[in-house]
């Protein structure tokens, strides 16, 4: 009876069969581990690049961009496979994913704002700029 009570909201089940599910979990574990290892490798690369006082800021920024994309891939695998969102019906996926689109504006607007504040201060407060900018070849 109780069993029925829980399934009344569920029109049909779509569970992946036993062995395949375990296989999929292990596969996801391997993917997540590999991505994390690549991220750590890139983080260490940044560390090595920083050792050179005249390093290319563009290159470091590019590597950081790759790390961000890899993190998003990890998030996708965790949500889709571990949290089984990928197995739900489209209605369910959309009710979670669509509100999260707010983050696109949220991140862009606020980082832009922070950057703008920095530029304004550097323009109008040279003392701030001198006091806080890294001196090169200091070590």
């Amino acid at each position: 009876m109780e069993h029925q009570a829980t399934t009344s909201e569920i029109t049909f089940h779509h569970h992946v069969p036993g062995k395949e599910n375990v296989k999929r979990i292990i596969k996801t574990l391997i993917i997540l581990s590999i991505i994390t290892a690549i991220e750590l490798g890139l983080g260490y690369t940044i560390y090595l690049i920083h050792k050179n006082p005249d390093f290319s800021h563009g290159l470091v920024l590019g590597i950081k961009g790759v790390i961000v994309i890899l993190s998003l891939a990890k998030a996708f695998y965790i949500v889709s496979i571990f949290m089984h969102l990928g197995d739900e019906i489209r209605n369910m996926i959309m009710t979670i994913v669509v509100p999260l689109m707010l983050f696109i504006w949220f991140i862009a607007a606020f980082l832009w704002d922070g950057n703008s504040y920095k530029n304004l201060r550097n323009n109008y407060d040279k003392h701030f700029q001198e006091r806080t900018t890294e001196k090169h070849g200091g070590h």
Partner: protein
């Protein structure tokens, strides 16, 4: 073939097709094909994602407004039991793998729940709890190391003080010219110099701090390995607050997750879910636990990697 089995066949062939044929919004069923509690857990996690997102974006805003920000490879370079060895990213990668592993054991517990295998659920829940506790232990060590670490910092451009990373300041600031460091060392109290010579000795066997304090200043300065001591300015104050605030909030989630998982383990062992006929509670606890792992992906990204 009865209509029931035919229906099942279609589902097995393609759940996508069934989902499209069903009139989800005509009432009488959940348009999300999901149990109420699980749906509400999803909405809670979505709101929690915005809370964490707001914290991290606030951190990003402040960081983008600064000309200088501490280099994570310099801040997080310690590993338990290795002293002052420079091991950037090593400890946090261990923490990350612990959390990923505990996420896998959790999803295996959910998997056993689907099959109604009580012993299997208990086994994997147990390992998930161990993973959570291990992660919290790592975080406790890391916080302790950062707070109590004694790093030489130039204060007012003329003398050196020993500071750790707290909410009120941190030693991760700009590099200082070696000339300025030498002048500041001469102007610093013997106590500070003895500490530096003890923590960053040029040669092994420098002796205890008490012995070092009896030596003259000139001799002490000669005993400090300045390259290791890495004396710099104070870093941006916001760094400590954001680090402890956000990793603390995440750690609090891990802690509450461990408590929830322990409760689930006890309920499982008492056969509560067998009597209910389903292990939906394990699935809900699982969603929360995976979310904790998901947040860590971004905490890891924002504080340790970029």
């Amino acid at each position: 073939m009865s209509p029931g089995t035919k229906n099942k066949l279609i589902i097995n062939m393609s759940s996508e097709a069934t989902a499209q044929q069903t009139k989800w919004w005509n009432g009488g069923r959940s348009p999300f094909n999901l149990e109420y509690g699980k749906l509400m857990m999803w909405y809670f996690l979505m709101s929690d994602a915005f809370t964490f997102g707001a914290f991290l974006i606030s951190y990003g805003t402040i960081r983008f407004s600064q000309n200088f920000w501490p280099d994570p490879n310099r801040v997080f370079n310690a590993f338990p039991g290795t002293g002052h060895m420079n091991l950037p990213l090593a400890f946090v990668s261990l923490m990350t793998f612990i959390l990923i592993a505990s996420s896998v054991t959790m999803v295996l517990a959910v998997h056993e729940g689907h099959r109604g295998n009580r012993a299997g659920v208990m086994k994997w829940m147990f390992w998930t709890i161990i993973g959570g506790i291990a992660f919290l232990g790592c975080q406790a060590w890391e916080w302790h190391h950062l707070i109590t670490g004694q790093h030489g910092v130039i204060v007012d451009g003329n003398h050196i003080e020993l500071v750790g990373q707290t909410m009120g300041g941190n030693p991760w600031g700009r590099h200082v010219d070696p000339m300025v460091v030498n002048q500041a060392l001469a102007a610093s109290p013997t106590e500070t110099l003895a500490h530096l010579a003890h923590e960053y000795p040029l040669h092994e066997g420098a002796g205890s701090i008490e012995d070092l304090e009896k030596l003259p200043k000139d001799q002490l300065i000669g005993m400090i390995n300045l390259e290791h001591a890495h004396i710099s300015e104070k870093g941006p104050i916001a760094f400590g607050g954001y680090f402890f605030g956000i990793t603390g909030f995440h750690g609090f989630h891990v802690f509450s997750g461990v408590i929830i998982n322990i409760i689930m383990l006890v309920m499982t062992s008492k056969g509560v879910f067998d009597r209910r006929g389903h292990y939906l509670m394990i699935e809900k606890a699982g969603l929360y636990w995976h979310f904790v792992d998901l947040v860590w992906v971004f905490v890891f990204l924002c504080f340790y990697l970029v």
